[in-house]
């Protein structure tokens, strides 16, 4: 593209600041989206062993957002490497592999194995609300996050992104722990915890009861987390949470994000990423500014 849109995510220089949120996008979108135009590609979260996922129903759209309870259904690391990785690597956009494990060792094992393959870096999912006995435990405790990050750091020289959960008392302390552990950048936010019930029958809309809440409704929450983390921790932020268009993206850049990801909006508009890039570029051009002029430059805050 052009200079205006260039941005840095830790070790990576991206052609533009737009990528996709893990789990909401896959090579299936290649029929609609030119992946070469994305700033980066983020895969669905991969685990060491295959996972069957959660009982159904797994989805429900509420008045203003989406509940999901996929439960990290995925084919497992080996099959991913054999069958999916080659597909992703046909595109020139840097590939960030999202991964999760049930122990620190397992996280390390996956990174070590992936490091033998081709990809640009890792988004470490310690924050999926839809998996029991793990995920949450990792993402909410700064000590655990520090230990996990520092161990992972030893296994790779590639971009190491820790993806944070908003379902914590103090996201800043978790973010700091990730940075101190050696993370190159932070991704936030994962989904909120949410629920919906059919008022006619009393039936939970999601089989697991609670699911992950995403989409437009969570944008203000994501934005406040990005702003608070950006003020306190000086590594780049990959932001997601209700981002649908270039206006939303601008809010996040002002709050301190260096890259934005489109998640739930892909379902509403498969071309959302491309339209965002194009319109963002036009906007910056019309204002005669580049991205770096606005990142973190929110005004009017009286503390």
């Amino acid at each position: 593209m052009n200079e205006r849109l260039k941005t840095r995510l830790g070790r990576l220089e991206l052609a533009n600041p737009v990528t996709v949120a893990s789990g909401t996008f896959s090579y299936d979108y290649a029929d609609y989206v030119d992946f070469n135009r994305l700033g980066a590609i983020v895969t669905k979260t991969i685990t060491k062993e295959a996972r069957g996922g959660n009982p159904t129903p797994r989805l429900f759209e509420t008045e203003a957002g989406l509940l999901n309870s996929i439960g990290l259904q995925n084919p497992g690391l080996d099959k991913f490497i054999k069958e999916e990785l080659p597909k992703y690597n046909q595109w020139k956009a840097p590939l960030l592999v999202s991964l999760s494990g049930s122990s620190i060792e397992e996280f390390c094992e996956i990174v070590a194995r992936m490091d033998e393959e081709d990809c640009a870096g890792y988004e470490i999912n310690v924050s999926c609300p839809n998996v029991k006995n793990e995920g949450i435990a990792f993402g909410v405790d700064p000590k655990v996050v520090f230990e996990l990050t520092s161990k992972l750091r030893k296994h790779t020289e590639r971009e190491l992104i820790i993806k944070l959960s908003p379902n914590v008392t103090d996201i800043v302390s978790v973010a700091k722990a990730a940075k101190e552990g050696g993370a190159d950048s932070l991704a936030l936010i994962n989904t909120l915890l949410g629920m919906a019930i059919d008022w006619k029958t009393g039936k939970s809309r999601i089989a697991r009861g609670v699911g992950g809440y995403s989409g437009i409704a969570i944008k203000p929450v994501a934005l406040s987390n990005v702003w608070r983390v950006a003020k306190a921790v000086d590594i780049p932020i990959l932001a997601m949470g209700g981002i649908s268009n270039y206006q939303d993206a601008l809010e996040f850049f002002y709050a301190g994000a260096s890259v934005v990801a489109v998640g739930t909006e892909n379902f509403m508009n498969p071309l959302a990423t491309i339209e965002l890039i194009e319109k963002l570029d036009m906007h910056l051009e019309s204002q005669n500014i580049s991205l770096k002029d606005i990142i973190g430059k929110v005004k009017g805050v009286i503390l």
Binding site: G23, T24, F25, S26, D28, Y29, D31, Y32, K44, G52, G53, P55, T56, P57, R58, L59, F60, E61, T62, E63, A64, L66, N68, I70, Q73, G215, I216, T264, N266, F267, M268, N269, P270, L271
Partner: protein
């Protein structure tokens, strides 16, 4: 394909049902029975998840959908007019396998009706018997054996009630079905029992519609501990053979 298409016809049917027609020859050429489109149901207002709607008919370069107004999304669709345009994503999913020269039974319930209409048109050299059921007269459309739950039209009761008799009478060799889960399960079980080929077009809540999100999962038999794995209705289906499906109650 993801396209903005022109609405070329709009027809109210009875009660909350209506037919919407779009024009696009590229889409029409590749649209097969059992496939569906994800239709935009909002002008940017929220909620705005796309909604899966089966192909009801293809005529030249036009594609028709038959839709029942049940909530916000379908209500939006019901207010569209000829000359408006709509974003469509599709055709999606796998079509019904077509048979020929067979004695075929089609069983539908509610909005399971439309895909079977298009299927019937495409089946060659088959003798087709159709059963359709719904809550009441308002939900009944053209078929050989209509059933209503409240008895307001056709026979009173569930479509599955006289299933075996009809199968035997017409020497049915293949069953196609689309409708409520419980109905399809009952038909599937009967097909297994009588050892008849049976294709079900399933419904699950969908987000992406193209296989990316794994939201629309359904249990398919597998050689593992649980006995099943989850497949995606949107991409691995929506049509499944009864023999692949995990038929225990959820």
């Amino acid at each position: 394909m993801y396209k903005k298409c022109l609405i070329t016809a709009f027809e109210e049917l009875k009660a909350d049902y209506f037919v919407l027609m779009i024009e696009d020859s590229a889409l029409a050429q590749v649209s097969e029975p059992g496939q569906f489109f994800n239709l935009s149901c909002s002008d940017g207002d929220i909620p705005r998840l796309k909604k899966p709607i089966s192909i009801y008919d293809v005529d030249g370069s036009e594609i028709a959908f038959m839709i029942k107004k049940v909530g916000k999304g379908t209500e939006y669709l019901s207010k569209l007019k000829v000359g408006d345009s709509i974003d469509v994503l599709g055709p999606l999913g796998n079509p019904f396998p077509l048979v020929s020269g067979k004695s075929v039974l089609m069983v539908s319930g509610g909005v399971g009706y439309p895909p079977l209409v298009y299927l019937k048109k495409k089946l060659e050299d088959c003798e087709v018997i159709s059963i359709h059921g719904g809550r009441s007269y308002d939900d009944i459309f053209l078929c050989d054996y209509p059933f209503t739950e409240d008895g307001s039209y056709g026979r009173k009761g569930l479509v599955t009630a006289h299933l075996e008799k009809i199968i035997k009478k017409h020497k049915i060799e293949v069953i196609y079905t689309c409708g409520p889960d419980s109905m399809m399960k009952a038909i599937g079980r009967k097909a297994l029992e009588l050892n008849i080929d049976c294709y079900l077009s399933l419904e699950e809540y969908m987000a992406c519609g193209i296989g990316a999100c794994y939201g629309c999962a359904v249990k398919v038999k597998a050689d593992n501990e649980q006995g099943y794995i989850y497949k995606r209705v949107c991409k691995d289906g929506p049509v499944f053979e009864v023999k692949e499906l995990w038929m225990e109650d959820k």
